[in-house]
């Protein structure tokens, strides 16, 4: 995720201090990974250098987090452009799972077992996410759903592969 664009976007509703930006980021987006002050500082100085933000005031005391930042017109355009640009879909073509299945078949190990064990591992993670979703707020639900749909996609691939193992074995050992 682009931290720069996210911080910039948070500034659009009004100027904020460095510490306030970090707090807003952590609260909204940082669920598992809060930002370090160092990250905020380096990101803000880059945005400053590129003219996307300006310093709007400095609180007494020192430390970069005491600077108050405001977004510039160029900054607003940059956020707009970022939001309007679709994210590149992940091609997901480099699959360790696929490699493992083929190697298992090549070495005459039990590929069906491997798939079952993987399903079980995926389900374990999905249970944790489902639990978190059940007890969480809407933000938790949306974030967990995103992860759950991805894990589900892996599992659908896994079921399909399990159903075609015989054919795959034939193809790879030929």
């Amino acid at each position: 995720m682009s931290i720069g664009h996210t911080l910039l976007g948070l500034l659009e509703s009004g100027p904020r201090h460095g510490y306030d930006l970090k707090r807003a980021f952590d609260e909204k987006f940082g669920h598992d990974r809060p930002l370090h002050y160092g990250q905020v500082y380096s990101t803000m100085s880059r945005l400053l250098k590129n003219g996307l933000v300006e310093v709007d005031g400095i609180e007494a005391g020192d430390g970069p987090e005491r600077k108050r930042y405001a977004i510039t017109d160029a900054g607003v355009s940059d956020v707009a452009l970022w939001l309007a640009t679709p994210e590149k879909p992940e091609p997901y073509l480099q699959s360790t799972l696929y490699t493992k299945v083929v190697l298992a078949l090549l070495t005459h190990r039990n590929a069906a077992d491997l798939l079952d064990t993987q399903r079980s591992e995926h389900l374990r993670m999905m249970r944790i996410l489902t639990d978190r979703k059940r007890n969480g707020d809407l933000a938790d639900q949306l974030i967990c759903d995103h992860a759950l749909f991805h894990l589900e996609a892996d599992l659908r691939w896994l079921e399909l592969t399990a159903a075609r193992l015989d054919k795959l074995a034939e193809a790879v050992t030929r």
Binding site: A112, D116, T117, R119, S120, E121, H122, L123, M126, R127, L129, T130, R134, L148, L151, E152, L155, R156, E159, A162, A163
Partner: protein
């Protein structure tokens, strides 16, 4: 060959069932504890529904043992088995389980009425369950007049109304979109947990299976307990 895990409410071992030339179950094992939700997964045609039907005493296995509460099912008469089904088990299927001529509340109350409960009391209990499943406002409607998701919640209420100790659910969310399906799963597992009922949940959907405590996989009529396998 009967070796059933200690403390299990419902357990089966060495289950075999053939339909003509087709082997539906080929030595399947199963066990579930009170309050546990176990997902039964596996490819289409692998024997999941057959396993559920055997466990519920709907279909007799050709071989193997099933015990409920420590009692061998094969030792029961047909009458005893259907009495057991009516009083201790609840069922939810994918479609078409509600009686179209009855209102929703009459549908939910039906299992109680069949067990001899008076109409007033049965409908009062039915409404309480419908409230838990967030469909108490549909009491007067007939199944044809409610949405698929609502109908499925009514069906879950009906399955739970007798306070079953085991709930059998075969693709209970199969006909629902994912938001509705998940809500049904949430309500179903919540209700089952609060009454300490065990749930046997056949599903091919991982997101639905994620509401279970553990899963078994059925393949070619054989079961694999993933908890013990890992």
């Amino acid at each position: 060959m009967t070796h059933h895990p200690a403390g299990s409410l419902l357990a089966a071992s060495g289950l075999r069932k053939t339909y003509g030339p087709t082997t539906a179950l080929d030595g399947a094992e199963f066990s579930i504890h009170p309050g546990e939700v176990v997902a039964v997964m596996g490819p289409s045609g692998s024997g999941k529904s057959t396993l559920l039907h055997c466990l519920a005493g709907i279909v007799p296995p050709d071989a193997g043992s099933i015990t409920y509460n420590g009692q061998e099912m094969a030792g029961l008469s047909d009458t005893q088995r259907s009495a057991l089904r009516r009083s201790e088990f609840g069922f939810v299927f994918q479609f078409g389980q509600l009686v179209p001529e009855l209102t929703c509340v009459e549908n939910v109350a039906l299992p109680l009425r069949l067990n001899g409960t008076g109409r007033k009391e049965a409908e009062r209990t039915a409404l309480a369950w419908m409230e838990r499943l967030e469909v108490d406002d549909l009491g007067a409607k007939r199944p044809g007049e409610v949405s698929g998701g609502q109908g499925q919640r009514v069906a879950v209420a009906r399955a739970l109304v007798t306070g079953p100790r085991v709930l059998f659910a075969d693709e209970p969310t199969g006909a629902l979109d994912s938001l509705n399906g998940e809500r049904v799963m949430e309500l179903l597992t919540e209700a089952a947990r609060s009454t300490n009922a065990a749930v046997v949940l056949v599903t091919h959907e991982a997101r639905v299976a994620a509401y279970s405590d553990r899963e078994i996989v059925v393949r070619d009529g054989k079961s694999r307990d993933m908890e013990r396998a890992v």
